[in-house]
Symmetry: C2
Subunit: 201 residues, 2 copies
Amino acid sequence: MATRTDAPTRREQILKEAARLFAERGFHGVGVDEIGAAVGISGPGLYRHFPGKDAMLAELLVGISEQLLTGARRRLAETGGAAGPEAVLDSLIEGHIDFALDDRPLITLHDRELDRLRDSDRKLVRQLQRQYVELWVEVVRKVHPGLAEPAARSAVHSVFGLLNSTPHLGRPGSSPGRAATAGLLHRMARGAFAAASPAAG
Amino acid sequence: MATRTDAPTRREQILKEAARLFAERGFHGVGVDEIGAAVGISGPGLYRHFPGKDAMLAELLVGISEQLLTGARRRLAETGGAAGPEAVLDSLIEGHIDFALDDRPLITLHDRELDRLRDSDRKLVRQLQRQYVELWVEVVRKVHPGLAEPAARSAVHSVFGLLNSTPHLGRPGSSPGRAATAGLLHRMARGAFAAASPAAG
DNA sequence: CCATCAGGTTAACGAGCGCTAACGTCCCTG
DNA sequence: CAGGGACGTTAGCGCTCGTTAACCTGATGG
């Protein structure tokens, strides 16, 4: 019988620590020796698990993009049929906020270190990101039909900027607490979308 | 008599190109030779104008922070007396949007490369940023008295995230055009603040 | 009981970096 | 017309980095 949720493998440890370090000091600012030290082994030992430093970043960024996209598709499928588009949008916002609050280092990496990837990986990540954005755009336009498509796309990007501000919001366990912060971000995102339409007073 | 606005000096050229390169590939990802090449001189020639690579980044970040803060104070002084706090908030938003749209590389650097600074410079930048945030917080709380101070501070940080999303919004001259983008961002920022209060329906 | 292999170790290489040294060349000024 | 400062250049130093090579060890399994 397997242990509950299978204790984190070495690869996963490495990815987690690498994400934290990359987010703190940037991809080029972190040496492989530091990443190794963070998981208790030393520098070149990492090469038993990854072909190189680039590969760690690639796996992180692709993983983030896939996780966001598949999560959004799942939420769309679950919420889409039963309730109206408003419920779908709320679910998308909730999912993004959960991710931004629980994996702050990854959110930081997601739009910061994309240019350090090999061409093929970068193309893949951008494609996943684009699909994620387009999924949001469709839902937003159902909730706010007065919004033209280019404006909706800009609005989605801007709301991502709003939701991804979590790294600036004081460390977990500080001022407002997680639930309050999530609620605040959710209301602000909805308010921002609602105000995006030029017609709205 | 001086020429109109004094043709850009070598220092200013260097700072502008360095900002662009740092924003594109990160502080550690850009070599001094590249910065030199971007202004038509080669690597070590930069050291006639700056004591080191770090100094360029420091001057950029301190300059940004000072420009934002002094601009906000000026707007507060100009708009504060005559009209109500709503007009002040609109003016702050407008100023921040102008900056985010006109100096995208600087906006990118502003919250990305802060940790690469020497301790003293980083302290200075953080202090300027904090004053800028607090100025916003006060104005926001006058417009939305139902908002507690910690929530207001979080809301301000989140709206900065929204406004600073301009680098993701398609290069200048694309889809919506500058005025339309500025208007969209402005409405969304106001909508986000308005929705931040828990009481709001 | 020994072969294998996963997962480490240390040593060292080659490239690239920021920066300094030494030198050249205008241009301004007394 | 000296002389000096502003502003370049190229050569090269010292260091750090990512990566490879060579070796070690403990668990596994036929």
